[in-house]
Symmetry: C3
Subunit: 346 residues, 3 copies
Amino acid sequence: MLETKTLQELADFLGGVVRGDAHVTVNGLAPLEAAGPDKVTFLANPKYAAKVAETKAGAVLMASGGESFGRNVIEVANPYLGFAKLLTLFYTKPHPPLGVLPEAVIGTNVTLGDGISIYPGAVIGNNVSIGDRVVIYPGAVIYDGVVIGDDSIIHANAVVRERCRLGKRCKLQPGAVVGSDGFGYAPDGSSYYPIPQIGIVVLEDDVEIGANATVDRAALETTLIKRGTKLDNLVMVAHNCQIGEDCMIVSQVGIAGSSKIGNHVTLAGQVGVVGHVTIGDNVIVGAQAGVPGSLAGNAYYSGSPAMPHKDWLKSMGVLPKLPEMRKKLSELEKKIAELEARLVKE
Amino acid sequence: MLETKTLQELADFLGGVVRGDAHVTVNGLAPLEAAGPDKVTFLANPKYAAKVAETKAGAVLMASGGESFGRNVIEVANPYLGFAKLLTLFYTKPHPPLGVLPEAVIGTNVTLGDGISIYPGAVIGNNVSIGDRVVIYPGAVIYDGVVIGDDSIIHANAVVRERCRLGKRCKLQPGAVVGSDGFGYAPDGSSYYPIPQIGIVVLEDDVEIGANATVDRAALETTLIKRGTKLDNLVMVAHNCQIGEDCMIVSQVGIAGSSKIGNHVTLAGQVGVVGHVTIGDNVIVGAQAGVPGSLAGNAYYSGSPAMPHKDWLKSMGVLPKLPEMRKKLSELEKKIAELEARLVKE
Amino acid sequence: MLETKTLQELADFLGGVVRGDAHVTVNGLAPLEAAGPDKVTFLANPKYAAKVAETKAGAVLMASGGESFGRNVIEVANPYLGFAKLLTLFYTKPHPPLGVLPEAVIGTNVTLGDGISIYPGAVIGNNVSIGDRVVIYPGAVIYDGVVIGDDSIIHANAVVRERCRLGKRCKLQPGAVVGSDGFGYAPDGSSYYPIPQIGIVVLEDDVEIGANATVDRAALETTLIKRGTKLDNLVMVAHNCQIGEDCMIVSQVGIAGSSKIGNHVTLAGQVGVVGHVTIGDNVIVGAQAGVPGSLAGNAYYSGSPAMPHKDWLKSMGVLPKLPEMRKKLSELEKKIAELEARLVKE
């Protein structure tokens, strides 16, 4: 059963204002086209404003001053954020604390917080500390000496290796690996001697790691991912890297060893970053780009090798013209030779 | 012990015709060079036709009208398909139904079909429905409310999250993840608010997901992969995507959110597709290409950004000539300046 | 408690020579700037030689003949290798043999070596052979008929499928998959018929597989990774490939089916190699390169499509100049037309 709320209650929850009938009740969210009178819908992109006239929704969440077309409206500063918060309100429930379920395996000297749930098939090592309300799903493996902060969620078959530390509200999607050995070998003539990777990984608060993504432990010290940063599925962060706060690292990005990423950086899908470089704050790197060196902050880069995005757009625009350019160059060469010949003759 | 079959039995099984001695018996398959008289071999690629003269195989599977060089031949319309079917006949056995093995964990209100096998260490949540002859290997985790169709196979440590639905004859390789949260966040000033991902993933019949590949659940509705489509290892399908029937999505491809792929599309290895685009039926996209916008159907594209394959081949052919072109351009510029100077003087 | 060693003991262990006080004792390693008198530090890169004058370390590991600045020195042929060996000496301990822990699941007819550790939640199939001192962490799944050589380490949730064989001292990071089905399908009109993948994977001695990397089993015979080769996280090796000895396959590389890589090859991050090609010994392929055909040995390639690295550097240098070149080309064309017109008039 979905809970029912009045528009006034929703406006209060979001810090917004109702225009229209504040007593109308709704029980969930739906897109503009699909919403019925018991649902709230939202207008985040102004180019769809005309659709508001057609919607059958009980109310429309929109920015202040938008055209209501006679609909009930909840005005908020950021309708997309409001939509996210209402989704949370209507559709997510606090996980019921189940405690340690029978087939879970718990090591010695483990500290368990209040309100936790540890599912069958999860395996917790020795000397582990697990915060309040943490949920650990089946098959997740927590090695010895790990610390997991309050309200973190470890999905099925994720792995956290020895001594790594997770902050509060961290989330590991299924199969994520935190603390695998860094790829470090010392050449020994023709073969490679494995360098023990004795460091750790630290995830600060509100860090999320996507499904089957991997974050390697440092060789000596710490691979660090700072507060609020989100890694998408199949991302690779190599040993000794440092990633700043509130970054978006999109799927299949790879960051080589010892690189430092600033705050509020976005690396789009399949980007590669070489090792030992620095990327400044607020940088955006376009999909599939290859970053071969350090990048100054507050700029948008694309291409492999990466260059300023505008330059890349221009160069890419020329790429399909190359065969024609080459042909023209030959023609001009010929014409010039003819002109020169004629001038000599004269 | 391998089973023994006469050539006539094999021809009947494949809908083919024997040329030569139909009573000869064989017990398996081998390549042209390695096959002995107790093995069938096959000629799929006509450029190896001469090797038939040398083979010691008991019979050769080939297209109608091929040169037999005096060998026993089974003629079929599609020898490569015939080879695949004989491999299945000789080397694969129906999985013996083991039931629920002791160390498997089964939730409440779970429906189990006939002839199933659930291995130790597999964990099945509540309200799950499992079809006939399904096999679930150790460490696989099936969350609450999942539906798995008949004859599906879930390999070790694969994960299917809550409420996702798999059709008949689906196969998940080890570590595959179906239904991880989509990468959706609403910017909230400088940080990111996680948008609950309340949708699901639906895999229709005969869909296969490669090892450690990930398919994210939709934000609101359904990430859909249609009948017969195969995903290779380490592929990423983001939330709200729709992939048509009988597609081949090769290893390490990434498809961003809400994109729609038509039927019978091939995306070669490491291709990236941006979000919110449409790719038409029968498209082929070459390895490592980047698809920045929608692509019309029935065509072959390559490059990053993707362009028609033939254009890309031509442009790539010019790439190594660029330094020479640049030099020549400078020379021509100089010559023209000289010509102009001479004309002025005259 | 860290163990204490004299400089003479360390020099003897490494086959080096002490310059200075051989009786000084140390208990670990630290970087040049951070090391105190109870630590050894090392100078691997001569450009940091001046820092030796400032270090507070008890001793400096360096190449023969380096400037000691009055510090105690251990001279060795290869200081980076020496550093790796001392890390191993000080910080790694042999895994205490735990035997088969209670919640581990062991099949029938399993051979277990001496000094093994099999953790809770690990599942071992039937007819498996496990060598001496092997460690199998929680959630790892070993299918029927697998052979694992002495001193190998299988981390949590790694999977080795049926009949695959691992040599001695192999290491699988968490989530690694060995022996998943190759991506082989026979087109059957518009849909795809799965070709049974009945081959195996063989990893020779000292092979390491990164977290969530995948190595597919061969269709008929063997996918082979030879002695000493290391695969980083999220690497994909397709069916029937052969990779030589002492190769470094960096993160997110994909190698398509049936390709052969020589000895001592380095493929940098995100490289893609198409199927059925050969790469010679001692090849280096730069990050994100795409290898569309066979590559001769003893050379360095970059780019997609890959070309000799020097050529690629030159071409990439021209890329940002393309718009300017195109403009100049138009200007020259115009000037030539003017010159031609003037010559006609005259």
